[in-house]
Symmetry: C2
Subunit: 248 residues, 2 copies
DNA sequence: GGGTATTTGTGCGTATGTATT
DNA sequence: TAATACATACGCACAAATACC
C-alpha cells in the first residue's frame, strides 16, 4: 500500500540499485506504478529514493533485462503488463481446474521420480511406518508455456506402485489417482510459508536469484480421511498469488 | 528439501555474504542444519559454496547479529532454536484466539490512524462509493513481546466512526467491532502473496533488510455477507507460518 | 600435563564492484 | 566520461580458544 518516503538502506549486503529495482517491482504490484504506463522520469525517481540518477538507471537496466520494463530513448520507461495468476487453494484444490479461465493450456510435467524410505515427517503425514518405501515425484506445473509451480510429492509406494508412469502419461495428479481407484480427494491441513528460491527452484521456475517462492505443505486425503499424498509446492511469488475461497 | 550443490550467483545485486546467509537460513528451515547443533566449519562451508572463508564469516556474522547463530571460538558455530508461530487462517480467523496455546500474551498495538478517501480497490472491497471517507488503522500484532504481524486496515468511516479509539483501548479488532453491534464476523476471500519487506515493515517487525513477509489481503464480512473491514496484513516469514485448517 | 589438530578470530594487501560527484 | 570513496571478495598468515589423544 502506502508509498512511504523511501528510506533505502545502505551497506546491508543488498546493493542500492537492487533495492530500488525491488521497490519498483513492489510499486507495480501495489498499483503505485500502473501497468502499460510510463514510470516517472529517472530524475524524479532518484529524488524520491534519495540516490543518484546513475543508481536509478542501474535498477531500470536490471528490470529491462528481466523483462519487467521497456525503456525508450526520448519517450520514457514503460511498465510491461504481466498479471499474476491467482491460484485457488482450499479443500478441493486441483491444479488444472483451478487455473481455468486464466489460462488456455496447463499441465503438470514430471521432471523425475524415485523411491526412497520415508523420513519421520513424511511417514507421519501419510500414516505409514517410518522407513517404509515412498515414491517421490518432482513436478513442474505449466500454464500457457510458463512455469507456475514446482512441487515435490510423496506417495505410499505399496499402494501407488507405478504412479510415476501414470503421471508422465496423463500430466495430472487427479487422473493418475483415478487409476488407483480414487475418484475424489480433499486437501487437509495446508501450511503456508515463504522463502528465497533455492538453486533448483530458480532453474525450474526460470527465476532470477533472490526471487521469492510461496511454499505450501499439504496432505491430501480420501473422503473418509485416509491420507494418500504429501506434497510441498513452491510458487513464484512474482507470478502467482494464492486465493483462499470460503466455500471450497 | 534436496540439498543441491550450491550455485551462488555473482554480480546480481545481492552480495555473496547475504546470499550465503540466506542459504544457511534455508538450510535451517529445511532441516539440513539441525537446531542446537554445530554448523559445518567455516572452511567447509567456504568450500561448499565456492567462496572465500572471509565471505562465509561475513554471512555468519550477520546471522549472529540476527540472533540465529552463536559462534564460539575454538568450538564451532551453533544453530539457536527458535520455533515459528503457526498462525491459523480461515473463515473464523481471530488474532488472539488463533495464537492461544502458542503464546501466553498477545494484543494488537495501534500505531497510527487516519481518515482518507477510499481508492477504487478499497471502495470495491467495502462496497461503498469511491472517494467516500474510510478510516485507516496501522497496527502491529504482538505476542509475548515479539512483533508477529503488521497490518493496514480500512473501515467505512461513516459506520465505524471512532473505531480507532476503541482499538487503542481494547487492543482487539473483535472487541472494537462489538462496540458497533457486530458480535460475529467471517473472513471472506483471502488472497495470499509474498514479497520483500519494505522499510516500514522492517522497522515495525524488527527485521533485517532482505527479509520476506507473507502478505494476506482479506475482507471480513458480517454473517449476512455485508463487508465491514478490508485489511492487508504482513507476517515475517522467518517467524510465522500460516496454517489453513479445513473446518474454520 | 603436554602436544597436536581443529576451529573461530584478526590483520593486511590487493582487486573488483558500487555509488556519488 | 572521469575521479573519488567505500563496500565487497579474495588470499595468505597467524593468534586464540577448544578438543582430543
Amino acid at each position: 500500500m502506502s508509498a512511504l518516503a523511501s528510506s533505502i538502506e545502505r551497506r546491508n549486503g543488498v546493493s542500492l540499485w537492487r533495492q530500488i529495482a525491488d521497490r519498483i517491482l513492489q510499486g507495480i504490484a501495489s498499483g503505485d506504478f500502473a501497468e502499460n504506463a510510463a514510470l516517472p522520469p529517472e530524475v524524479v525517481l532518484a529524488e524520491r529514493y534519495g540516490v543518484n540518477r546513475h543508481t536509478v538507471r542501474s535498477a531500470i537496466a536490471a528490470l529491462v533485462q528481466e523483462g519487467v520494463l521497456r525503456a525508450e530513448q526520448g519517450r520514457g520507461t514503460f511498465v510491461l503488463s504481466r498479471k499474476r495468476l491467482s491460484y485457488p487453494i482450499g479443500q478441493r484444490t486441483r491444479f488444472s481446474t483451478g487455473l481455468q479461465g486464466q489460462t488456455t493450456e496447463r499441465h503438470i510435467a514430471l521432471l523425475s521420480s524415485s523411491t526412497e524410505p520415508a523420513n519421520r515427517r513424511i511417514a507421519e503425514a501419510l500414516g505409514i511406518a517410518r522407513g517404509s518405501a515412498v515414491i517421490r515425484l518432482e513436478t513442474r506445473g505449466e500454464a500457457d508455456g510458463h512455469a507456475v509451480s514446482r512441487a515435490t510429492t510423496w506417495f505410499d509406494a505399496k499402494r501407488f506402485a507405478g504412479i510415476e508412469a501414470a503421471m508422465a502419461e496423463t500430466g495430472s495428479i487427479t487422473a493418475s489417482l483415478k487409476r488407483f481407484g480414487i475418484n475424489d480427494y480433499l486437501r487437509h491441513s495446508t501450511v503456508l510459508s515463504a522463502r528465497h528460491a533455492d538453486a533448483d527452484d530458480l532453474a525450474a521456475l526460470d527465476l532470477q536469484p533472490g526471487a521469492i517462492v510461496l511454499v505450501t505443505v499439504a496432505v491430501n486425503v480420501t473422503l473418509d480421511g485416509q491420507p494418500i499424498q504429501f506434497a510441498e509446492s513452491r510458487f513464484p511469488a512474482e507470478r502467482v498469488e494464492l486465493r483462499l475461497s470460503a466455500n471450497d
